[in-house]
Symmetry: C2
Subunit: 518 residues, 2 copies
Amino acid sequence: MLLLTIDRQAELPLHRQVVQQLRRKIERGDLRCGDRLPSTRRLGDLLGIHRATAALAYQELWSLGYLDLREKATPQVRQRRQLAGGEARSGQRLDWEALSSATSRLVFAEDQAVPPVPSQTDLINLATLDLDPALFPIARFRECLARVLSKDGAGLLGYGDRLGFPPLRDYVSRRLRQHGITAELPEVLLTNGSQHGLDLLLRLAADGRRGVAVEEPTYDTFLRLLHSYGSPIYPVPMTPAGMDLIRLERLLRTTALAYIYTIPTFQNPTGISAGQAQRERLLALAEHYRVPLIEDGFDEEMKFFGNSILPIKSMDRMGCVIYCGTFSKVLFPGCRIGWVVADPDCIARLGALRRTQDLSSSALLQAALWDFCEHGYFDRHLARMHRVFKRRMRCALGALRRHIPPAHATWADPPGGYLLWLRLPDGVDADAVVAYGLRAGVRVLSGRPFFPRASRAGYLRLSVSSAGEPEIEEGIRRLELALRTVHQGAAQLRHSAPTTAKAKGRWSAGRPHAGRVS
Amino acid sequence: MLLLTIDRQAELPLHRQVVQQLRRKIERGDLRCGDRLPSTRRLGDLLGIHRATAALAYQELWSLGYLDLREKATPQVRQRRQLAGGEARSGQRLDWEALSSATSRLVFAEDQAVPPVPSQTDLINLATLDLDPALFPIARFRECLARVLSKDGAGLLGYGDRLGFPPLRDYVSRRLRQHGITAELPEVLLTNGSQHGLDLLLRLAADGRRGVAVEEPTYDTFLRLLHSYGSPIYPVPMTPAGMDLIRLERLLRTTALAYIYTIPTFQNPTGISAGQAQRERLLALAEHYRVPLIEDGFDEEMKFFGNSILPIKSMDRMGCVIYCGTFSKVLFPGCRIGWVVADPDCIARLGALRRTQDLSSSALLQAALWDFCEHGYFDRHLARMHRVFKRRMRCALGALRRHIPPAHATWADPPGGYLLWLRLPDGVDADAVVAYGLRAGVRVLSGRPFFPRASRAGYLRLSVSSAGEPEIEEGIRRLELALRTVHQGAAQLRHSAPTTAKAKGRWSAGRPHAGRVS
């Protein structure tokens, strides 16, 4: 006998009262799998409710998995599948390595091979390109966020324009005029940082057949991104003046390319800036062979030593250059705001792709950043960054000269930016230096991941972006300890079994201690 | 004779004084292409500066493109390439249609085919799934943003964790327990909205060969996303109970699939919710054939009619289900915060891919949202949303019953969510109804873009997410005007040239006016 009670005064609809009580009985085991329930007519009679109400209740219990309902058969209690608690997981899990595509398998393997960031305290970090958080203008930004939210919170918390918050696009367009670039609004797309712009560009044109020409060495995460698209990579060696254009032209003559990728200013990882003539020749090649040139201007604003060389994009008449920039390297990376400036047709296509990818970016952060810029805070912040990093870079160059003898490493003084690129003597293993560096209390990067092909020469990348002057000085002193240890080891090794390996990166023909910083 | 002046009291370094003056002379035309400059030794003597300083100046002018420097030759003024102003652009622009990959070409063509959102005022919008901005808890969110920025601005404005802000991941994990899902921290990835999660999943496993099974009709932007990956699409018809599982099993037996994609709750566009038994059978199929099941729970929280059916993920013991969710459909879309809950190995791989894509999301917005949730504001907001949308959906259902006769359209009452799916009589063109609707002052969507294959049956998707009750009532009245116009036109057409087309979507076998909402 089914004991249910109906409360006609209750707020809960009648059919839901039936559902609740039957559900409880099934969950407690008062009703078991296979038990039959009265027909809707009979249940209605029993409870004094309409037959349709009873039917509604059964329908809901069916949808919740508690009942089997078949036409003209009496309803029956059903074995409901149990919830999967964390502890009850089975061992036959899916094999995600096998399920992954070949390209994503490669990306994951590379990612797993990256050594984890050591959690050591008292470690001086000359490895990261993250900015020193002490330099973030947080209070100002908070003020801007509050202001734009007060003014138009509803507008900023809805879906944004897929090309980005128009006033910030307009600001980027105006700001780029200072760098000689003329770009109208339909030529500007805001992205989640400049990496996102690179991603969209590959999505636009990478088809697994046409490849991308890159500088060798180059920005390592771009290489990973190319792998994720299964895009062929054509490395073109760096010279002290920039990409080797003779090699590039040879490549262009024989190979269909989707893009040429270059970082003409403060190249990552070498710190090299290409001169104007080199930029003109590179553009002329791209135009002649009609291959789009991606110009990564990630560090454009950090010309703190005063060099006023302009982006390649400033000379682009054919819509051949795609300029990627970002606020991450001078303001806060955490805003994830960068931009792509390109031919309007290219931008429209990127916009369509980004809509399928994540619809749009957060208009709120873009609006706050726009407010920040419009109030002149960005210009003031930039002036401060120039003062700070001019000092930090000078400090780093002085410390290198003081602590590290040419026999241990050589380098060219960069004309700005955050990066220093040290070449180690033949036979000295960069990974060993990095490991000894960690023991000595300093973290630097091995040059290896920046090379698309295996390189026998050893390099280190140092960044001054996150450490203060005393740390930089001390970090470089610690690095010399590591260099000395490895160098002595290598010398002993050479002594016992001399090596003839003479792998020489072409760019290393450069002038060590060129002293461009006066 | 070269007239330069050196000011030894000036702050500007000597070599830069030389650079500035020579540059001005070249730009003004006082020095022309081919003009020779003195040697460094002679320039040093002339100006009373060190020869090295003169060399430094020439080097910078060379790098800026104003000079040709060749060893042992006198420096020569060079023709510098002009800046490309907006007006001076040439006609030989790159052809981005030709440069695009086949898949991105298709995405762009589809995007261009979408009719632009009309800018008409006094248009009632029953087309969008955007939320009514009047419901955004803006003041509360502003408070949360200010609080987290004060507490840890520096931490939140740096690069974030690639898997997302850990406290918010933890909150999502705890919240999902209310939906029967047990997920530890390594099983949760935060994304830029749930679309971004879908994108990462395709990047993980789509290889252009194995395809994806989708409900027919289904979320249109997911179809566009599949196109952008060149992924084969296998449509499985919807029935009133959900995906047709007999057809799905037939497909699984013969075809290697990367994923099965389902929206079991308030399916987009049909509004159908699958019952428990259907969910169990679907999961059993995925497990048996070992194909990962993407469960899109975009509208999970909007069960305002009280149905407490649980996500498929709640029964997942083999790590077979990937659950995608979002804050966009109940809070503010503009935060762009969604999540993927899946097997930890799957999540780790998605994290590696997302690093190549855009490094990380903004930790600031994630932290503010976490603060919002931790203060209980989310629960309160949700309760309010339930009250509001219960009323709005009832209003819409009432208006449909009052205004639209069964001869003009039929529908099933949805158990929650924002969507209504109207089937038009055979021979009535949905696009014509949409067009007449715009004239009558209401915007609804044609069902067409939701079908992976051409469908002869006509459907309309209505959404109550952004309009208030009076607007909904009036919008549906206007829709009936449009239906009547097209219906009369179709009737006349039938009269003159009868059509025998009987295309019938399987799901339309459903119960119109099922009256599940009491």
